[in-house]
Symmetry: C2
Subunit: 195 residues, 2 copies
Amino acid sequence: MGKAADTRLIILQKAFELIYRNGYQATSIDVIIATTQVTKGAFYYHFKSKEEMGLAIIKEVMYPGMAAAMIEPLMDGTDVPGKIYRMMEGLLLDNPFFDVRYGCPAINLIEEMSPLSQSFKSALTQLVVRWQHAIEHVLTLAQQSGTIRPDLSPRQIALFVITGYGGVRNMGKVFGQNCYKDFLAELKRYLQKLA
Amino acid sequence: MGKAADTRLIILQKAFELIYRNGYQATSIDVIIATTQVTKGAFYYHFKSKEEMGLAIIKEVMYPGMAAAMIEPLMDGTDVPGKIYRMMEGLLLDNPFFDVRYGCPAINLIEEMSPLSQSFKSALTQLVVRWQHAIEHVLTLAQQSGTIRPDLSPRQIALFVITGYGGVRNMGKVFGQNCYKDFLAELKRYLQKLA
DNA sequence: GAAAAAACATACCACATAGTATCTTTATGG
DNA sequence: CCATAAAGATACTATGTGGTATGTTTTTTC
């Protein structure tokens, strides 16, 4: 990797962490360049505005990250409710980067920026839609192979799972880690009843 | 009501709306006093800081509001799953103040401020705990009267319902009103299976 | 190895921010 | 009706903000 591409990536990653912990609007360019040791000139050479940097974070940091944690775990294996459950468990309990106090970077950004910026909203909608479609897809396959009931709506179930995730990330901020366990227990019960 | 108490209330209500739409940190004192036509001197006579105003909004505007919309609908009647469902439906579809684009004021504030301020976190935890206890309470009663299964955990179910709410408010920001309907349909299915 | 472009550095600007100091007006109790 | 305190108005400050102008250094290209 060239040195220029390297500083660009440093900015994206550090800014991602700062925004994750403090919010997009509360993260100033000045603290980003302070923590990255990158000067303002370098910053504005790589990004023409703060918004452009924010969108790059979504597309270049969050898209790949969510694919790894939210979609790949659904790929192989046949026990669909089990796969969905373990994907959720992995997200909530095993991911070493996520902190219960700060929730989920994607959910945080949706919450803060969707109403304020159409560009952010579009990029974040993409992200959620991909996840929903992945869940919906494995549910449809399970329905075709007869492991979950045919009268259920995969799209509806996928949405329900996703809303549960978004909500428990929110509740975790006030209740702490304990509510992750309770949520997972009830999610498991819910998923088992799909059969 | 005295004139002084009146301006205090005006500030709380207008600031509540502004924060609901734009977030707490993005809502400046200057725009609050501009939209309320209250001078800065008057503002700082009633609140010693922005944080004190924020906490007053939670306690004096949000507590009563949530009691009316989230707890009272659970009070009378016997069909507990039905009451929980209608409470949720009322919140999502009937409440004329809430706007799908801006989500839920309480959820927004939890998302933004819980990690940043212990005072906000405490006040907001109170709010959520009260709701959870109210739901848990009616579920326990239903369990005692035998209308829902005895092996289920009311606390766990209450948390699951609340997380669903928080999540769908989040998803509404990207998906719009449609996902409210889908969520409600799946919630109804989930609640009926508690019997 | 020099010209050209890419990458970075520094100093600055206009504006917004929360909060304060100091004043004037309005209500209230005797 | 007057003294006193409550309520409100105005001007100001220190700091932070995103962004720019204008430089210097480093890398590429021929």
